[in-house]
Amino acid sequence: MAKPANTDPAEWVDRYGDYLFRYAMLRLRDRPTAEDLVQETFLAALKARVSFSGKSSESTWLVGILKHKIADHFRNQAQEAPLGDTDLRDPPGPSPFAVSGHWASGPTDWGGNPADLYREKKFLDQFTECLSRLSPNLANAFTLREIEGADTGEICKVLNVTETNLWVILHRARMQLRRCLETRWFNRKTEREP
């Protein structure tokens, strides 16, 4: 079977640049880093071009390279700023729980049909905005688990944490993300539409 022709690398930026950039932005939440990793991906692809089997599409192949670059970046970040007490302790500010451990102020009713939310670009933007407000360790763990869908063993290796600590980080991440969405999206919405 003939090997499918690859496109000319000179066309790559126009063809795949924005797609790879958005892929990187969603996971890295930082424009300069995302742009750098897209560049590194193309350069690595250029070197590895002869070994491209053509079994997958060219874009799948490029995303595969980018995925590795992102994991490497998370690994380096975890090495430079290892998990600290602040990632594992209760976040600053008033606790949602009373001393008894019961809700002091419980989650509000978000109402509506959640299925409609995914189609709202503004909600998705708010979601990524809230994600970028988490500390890097929390946001990276959440990204690997919920956006990449990686299993916890894999994430522990990338972030160099124990499984027990990973559960704590993910719990913190979800709780803070939930609270951020509640304040910045759901509660505001009810104010807009009384």
Partner: protein, 80 residues
Amino acid sequence: MLSCKDVTRLLSESMDHSLPLGKRVGVRLHLLICKFCLRYRRQLLLIRETARRLAATEDIPGETLSAEARERIRKSLANG
């Protein structure tokens, strides 16, 4: 008896690994009587679903490479 604070932690953990039986039963009983924790669970699932949707949405129109980065990458590819 599990407190709401315990239950929120366990609800999150149950999304990452299966809980031992005793804890699983404790959470289930708690959810029967606590509407806040039930709501919390629904919201965590919504958050998970949204993250998955975001990952699956291949081409939501959105941000693009800056002109400067585009140029820089083009040059590096030509020299690479």
